[in-house]
Amino acid sequence: MLKLRHISKSFPGVRALDDVSLEFRAGEIHGLIGENGAGKSTAIKIITGIYQPDRGEIVLEGEPVRFADFRDSQRRGIGIVHQELQVIPDASVAENIMIDKLVTRGAGRVDWDVTFRVAREHMARVGLDAPPDRLVRGLSAAQKQLIQIAKALSAKAKLLLLDEPTSSLTEHEARRLFALLRELRDQGTAIGFVSHKLDEVLALCDRISVLRDGKFVGSRENLSARDPAASGSNPIRPAELVSMMLGRECNDDHLGQLSPDWNTEVLRVENVVRLGKVEGVSLVLHRGEILGCYGLVGSGRTELARILIGEDRMDSGRITIRGEPVTIRSVGESLYRHRMGYVSENRKEEGLLLEDPVRTNLAVAVWPRIRRAIARCINADRERAVAADQVNALQIRTPGIEQRVRHLSGGNQQKVSIGKWLAADCDILIIDEPTVGVDVGAKQQIHELIWNLAARQGKSILLISSDLPELVRLVNRLLVFRQRRIVGEVRDIDTKKKSYAEVSREIAPLFE
């Protein structure tokens, strides 16, 4: 149906796609998997004409084509269902489906009868059970998704691309979506399914291709998608896919051996539940330990972190900090009472005051402590000293403490968001995906920084990461999160000098 041949695409400083070839066949569901930044969304944007490839060609039904823009690709039978549900909330279901092809009669008046009838046909095809004149606003995420699929099909899409379609669906809704996709496949539609959830890709896709760092790693047939009984003779192994996804050239070096104080528990989490987010998670963090939390997005790691810092409530469970049972109701409490800090994975949105100077960002959590006793105002000299200390200690590269954080590099911004908690004297740190979007050199520095905090300063760190090599380099133990639970633990990573390959072999069965 559609082939990508040797497609390359670069953006300033990044090679997003490097000689990638993919084929989407009629009557086949083709899964595209890879980590964040592997090139999945760039590939989709090229197929849908949003980006033009630098090199390579797109072949549509045997003919090389060039999509001028998004509309052009749609006209030629490419349909896409986005991750963010792109519907018009205040229009009816029928209008949403028919928005670009409203039937008119004379003088541009919309023929609502015909429009609704056609819409109803498409709704029936995707099994969307809602009145066509209902406003979309009140529909569920799954229904909105069906609208998008119906819309794509009504445009006679021969290739239907779905980008992370299940991220806003419940499991039940996802299963129904899969049934529909199988049906469409059997009717001869080519389907491209982009996801980083291995489980669902294995359950659904007939062929699975892996992208990593913008390169095509490999493609495997998945017989069990059509016939679960075939799994014995299936040429595909989940473990193999995991290592294809992760197996970038990584050096197995451990930064060194941590010496946690195994007798001092600083944080104990017991059976923490938040419905639909975290289902019975328990863990213990020791003084001077880096405890890895490995898993995919939505597996419950960040969700647990948000509970620990008081951003979200837990439905049940127990949290003990330095031996005392605690209830944490706000970030202020976790910070000022328990000296626990959270370095957010979205540093720009949640971690930093981008328009403000480095000084402010580093000192924001210590203002109450550096207040002059009588005048009650912030001691400016101490504020500057606090900031300068962190700039030196973390080797933050900035022209000065008055520099706006916006102008720092990703790596240095990350140091600032870690430094904020160090300045506030936190000795429990929850660090979430610290090296997403930073370059290789900065990554190394941040790794050293995190490691030193635990090894030299006795900080206790809960390190959340989807980057397995990163965890292997830094941690002693790691917990594997899957589907909102902890499903396994890998111990003695640094003491027994386990290599990345060994650790990933240990983890792979957990994803079977």
Binding site: E311, V331, L335, S344, L352, E355, D356, V364, P399, Q403
Partner: protein, 334 residues
């Protein structure tokens, strides 16, 4: 988040090194030029007398604009600036008016003052607890208050007893109006707050990036409430000053405050997206605003056109900021 790309220390409030930002210096310069031009055009403009009598307007505009600016600084806005002022005016008339309750100013004024923090608290709570946009909340409340004041007053003005005229009309040594003194005190206190206190800094951090501020342990909801409480206080202060100065409490007081509050705050360099506020800049904005009004008189432009000028001024101020940002590029300092 789009904000001028330059670091303007005094305006950001986070800075402590420069007392006056480049932008505010620009305003001072501009005000100077206007004054010189106007005294050339009209020889009796620059007398000590005009200067100090006009300074009452400046004080009044500062209050009105601060009422808006404190909300803008946390990333909100407040459309009730004038409506709260008008409610306060009517309350003042009811409590103090000779034919009304006839209370002593020392009782009535503090009571009326309470209207500011109470309404502000209410707005803040509705915005943060019920999670309704500040625009909608203050828009609706504006009409609630406007209806109340018309209903209660029936459109009639109350007289303010002479015993309370001193605040608006009095002065020290016959030339330094009390109103200007109050304005200077407000200028000093708010500058200090935003520059040096934990509360002020937290207000600015909330305006800068509420999400990040909350995850840094700042109770951002409380900051929004505080901003609206402060806003209410400035509104009633403006109302009390105005009534005392005019010697009566007219219900239509406040009708034109909203546009003034935006115009002066924006000319004064308050960021529309939060986190940027300069009380000194706003003070200069108030002076410039008064000078421009005065120049309309000199140019014999009909007073009925003043709103047109105001609206255009707001856009002009924003465009000038854009241009500054553009020419400064990403360069620091100013």
């Amino acid at each position: 988040m789009t904000m001028p790309a330059t670091v303007i220390q005094e305006r950001v409030g986070f800075g402590q090194r420069d007392w006056v930002s480049g932008r505010t210096l620009g305003l001072i310069l501009f005000a100077g030029i206007l004054m010189i031009a106007m005294s050339l055009a009209s020889p009796n403009f620059l007398t000590q007398e005009t200067f100090f009598s006009q300074s009452r307007y400046v004080a009044f505009y500062l209050m009105v604009a601060m009422s808006q600016a404190v909300c803008l600084a946390v990333g909100d806005l407040n459309l009730t600036v004038g409506a709260v002022g008008s409610i306060a005016t009517v309350a003042l008339g009811l409590l103090m008016g000779a034919e009304q309750a006839g209370l002593s100013p020392w009782v009535a004024v503090p009571l009326v003052f309470l209207i500011g923090p109470l309404t502000g608290w209410l707005h803040g709570m509705i915005i943060t607890r019920l999670k309704i946009d500040a625009f909608i909340v203050t828009l609706s409340m504006m009409f609630v208050y406007m209806g109340l004041r018309s209903g209660i007053s029936g459109g009639n003005a109350y007289t303010i007893p002479q015993s309370f005229w001193w605040l608006g009309q009095g002065s020290i040594g016959g030339w330094l109006p009390y109103m200007l003194l109050i304005a200077l005190a407000v200028l000093g206190l708010t500058s200090h707050m935003y520059r040096n206190t934990v509360l002020g800094r937290r207000l600015l951090a909330t305006g800068s990036n509420a999400e990040a501020a909350r995850l840094s342990g700042i109770d951002t909801n409380r900051m929004v409430v505080v901003a609206h409480v402060l806003s209410g206080c400035f509104s009633v202060m403006a109302a009390i000053m105005w009534a005392s100065w005019g010697g009566n409490a007219a219900p239509e007081t406040g009708d034109n405050w909203l546009i003034i509050s935006f115009a002066v705050a924006i000319i004064g360099g308050t960021g529309l997206k939060g986190s940027l506020i300069s009380p000194l800049g706003i003070f200069m904005g108030a002076i410039i605003f008064k000078l421009i009004q005065h120049s309309l008189v000199i140019l014999k432009i009909n007073d009925n056109y003043s709103n047109t000028v105001l609206g255009a001024l707001i856009l002009l101020a924003i465009l000038v900021d854009r241009a500054r940002e553009h020419f400064d590029g990403g360069r620091r300092g100013s």
